[in-house]
């Protein structure tokens, strides 16, 4: 195991542990803070995979914006504490389904990619920009209009109607 893979394993273990705590914690606000750790570890994984721009976008958008949005919505709604308030009665079934998904995916991965290795080649931000604005202009425009529509829709939904 190379040092690269060791660093990867450390990030993955920390990220998976806090993801597990996120879905089992009894306090919603703690859940949001565990989400921060998981998202930051995923950002670190992007850095180890030499995808620098995606890593910083992950930190800025997810940790910076989405978690703050989640915390604000927890503030505006009731943030109950306790297992009965947060979990429904299907925990056993849910655990079985999740274990089945994990077992199936790991079996497929080990069968198809167990011998594949790769050396991450750093991709500069300029290359990603050139790729987006030369070859993916139409999807980029569609996604920006989608984001605009979604945000206007969110404002229209959440604002209080003045009498």
């Amino acid at each position: 195991m190379t040092s690269h893979e060791l660093a990867f394993a450390v990030l993955a273990v920390v990220g998976l542990f806090s993801a597990l705590r996120l879905v089992t914690t009894k306090n919603v606000v703690h859940g949001a803070l565990y989400l921060v750790i998981t998202l930051a570890m995923v950002g670190g994984v992007y850095l180890l995979l030499a995808a620098e721009f995606v890593a910083w976008v992950q930190i800025v958008i997810y940790v910076g914006a989405i978690v703050v949005l989640l915390l604000f919505s927890l503030m505006l709604t009731k943030a109950p504490i306790g297992r009965a308030a947060l979990d429904n009665q299907q925990r056993g079934v849910a655990a079985v389904v999740a274990a089945g998904v994990l077992a199936g995916l790991v079996t497929i991965i080990q069968g198809a990619f167990s011998g594949t290795k790769f050396t991450p080649v750093p991709s500069r931000t300029a290359e990603i920009g050139a790729s987006i604005f030369r070859h993916f202009v139409a999807p980029f425009e569609v996604v920006s209009v989608l984001l605009l529509g979604a945000l206007i829709g969110a404002i229209a939904l959440a604002r209080r109607d003045e009498p």
Binding site: T2, F8, A12, L16, A19, L20, L22, V23, V28, A32, L35, T38, V42, L48, L49, A51, V54, V57, Q58, Y62, I66, L69, L70, S73, L74, T77, K78, P80, A85, L86, N88, Q90, A94, V97, A98, V101, L105, V106, I109, F113, T116, K117, F118, T119, P120, V121, S123, I128, S131, I132, H135, F136, F140, S144, L147, G149, A150, A154, I155, A158
Partner: protein, 102 residues
């Protein structure tokens, strides 16, 4: 050098944890957080395959950026709906919301 199964297994475990969260949680905000976990798992896969296949256009990374954008749109709309439902029903538990059931 890094084995491809490492990032793939990480993303598979993250996805399975997200599935558990979506199925077992009843608070709508926690369900949305679990959906974020699943979207992140997909992004890890996209970036790992982008580095493996050595695509000149970096399609995997560009697509991961698009997925992040769509996730931001989804969380904005989702939280607006959650706040609206809380204002009308005084609850955000997904098993108590039956407005579309008959």
């Amino acid at each position: 050098m890094i084995h491809l199964w490492l990032p793939l297994t990480f993303s598979a475990a993250l996805f399975a944890i997200g599935v558990y969260g979506v199925l077992a949680r009843r608070n709508a905000v926690m369900v949305l957080m679990s959906i974020e976990l699943m979207l992140n798992a997909v992004n890890v896969n996209l970036v790992a395959f982008s580095q493996t296949l050595k695509n000149v256009l970096l399609t995997g990374q560009v697509f991961a950026l698009f997925v992040i954008t769509v996730a931001a749109a989804e969380i904005g709309i989702g939280l607006a709906i959650v706040i609206l439902i809380y204002r009308n029903r005084e609850t955000v538990n997904v098993d108590e919301i039956n407005l579309l059931k008959w």
